[in-house]
Symmetry: C2
């Protein structure tokens, strides 16, 4: 998922953050910097990743790579663990719930703003989708992106229908 070529020198925490901000945020959250580094430390302590000082550049940084043990553990997780149900935190739905405390026009404009925001997100995800292309090696990430795009389309349709009932 991250990494691409696995023969490379690994990623810095900063780079992981950037990748998460670009892609992971669409179906998970963008982890905080603090979270990335503490997690890398912990993974490192448990032998799942290996952090190596990279002194080739002007500046010494730590680059992390997954270890064989880490990869095994990841695969074991993929095979065995429970599939949790997605969690959604939907501020617009939360506000709509209290629509009776807002003016009717206010509800409509809230939904309009939301539809625009979804369209914007969709555009960003589409850029990611295009980067993935139809490379066989990236087929699964591409499917995830397609899923996201279809979700945004459905969301817009639902909200526009809902809007008409107001």
């Amino acid at each position: 998922m991250f990494g691409g070529e696995s023969s490379d020198v690994g990623l810095t925490g900063y780079e992981i953050k950037q990748r998460a901000d670009r892609t992971l945020r669409f179906y998970w959250v963008s982890p905080a910097m603090s979270q990335i580094y503490t997690e890398l430390d912990r993974l490192s302590r448990n032998g799942y990743v290996d952090g190596v000082d990279d002194t080739t550049g002007k500046r010494t940084t730590r680059r992390f790579r997954i270890t064989a043990e880490g990869r095994e553990s990841l695969e074991a997780w993929l095979h065995t663990s429970e599939h949790e149900f997605p969690i959604l935190k939907h501020p617009i739905a939360l506000r709509l719930m209290l629509g009776s405390l807002m003016g009717p026009g206010e509800v409509v404009s809230m939904l309009d703003v939301y539809v625009d925001a979804v369209a914007e997100r969709r555009k960003e995800l589409e850029a990611v989708r295009e980067m993935l292309g139809d490379d066989e090696a990236l087929a699964y990430p591409a499917r995830v992106a397609d899923w996201g795009l279809a979700y945004y389309d459905a969301e817009v349709e639902i909200v526009e229908k809902l809007r008409r009932t107001l």
Copy 2:
């Protein structure tokens, strides 16, 4: 949203938890008990809710009601605050991303299990929707529930289409 009749004696933390578990979880999270009580304490300190000892039963409990100040503040929040974009944590999409590390059959069965889980969720939400009926006073919560139902339908459709591409 909670409360219904606002002339009543208010709700205990426990009751709030139950209501959240029944409805809020569909578009937000079920807050932990600890979170509910600490938040009630904080709201109380800031004058947004009023906690009154209820000694009418065999057992003394605290019942919380929103204050006038709390209601004003809630409405101000509804009118002014920024609309954040929904946050999704989607374990199935996350795993699908790593589909190349799973067997193809494993991916398919993961999606099947997920579709079943969505159907189950949908049923639970449908029960909530039926409780809301077509009472004008509950029109907004009912719309939120309808939104959720439509979302689940879209999700199933998307996943089934995706499944066919594998």
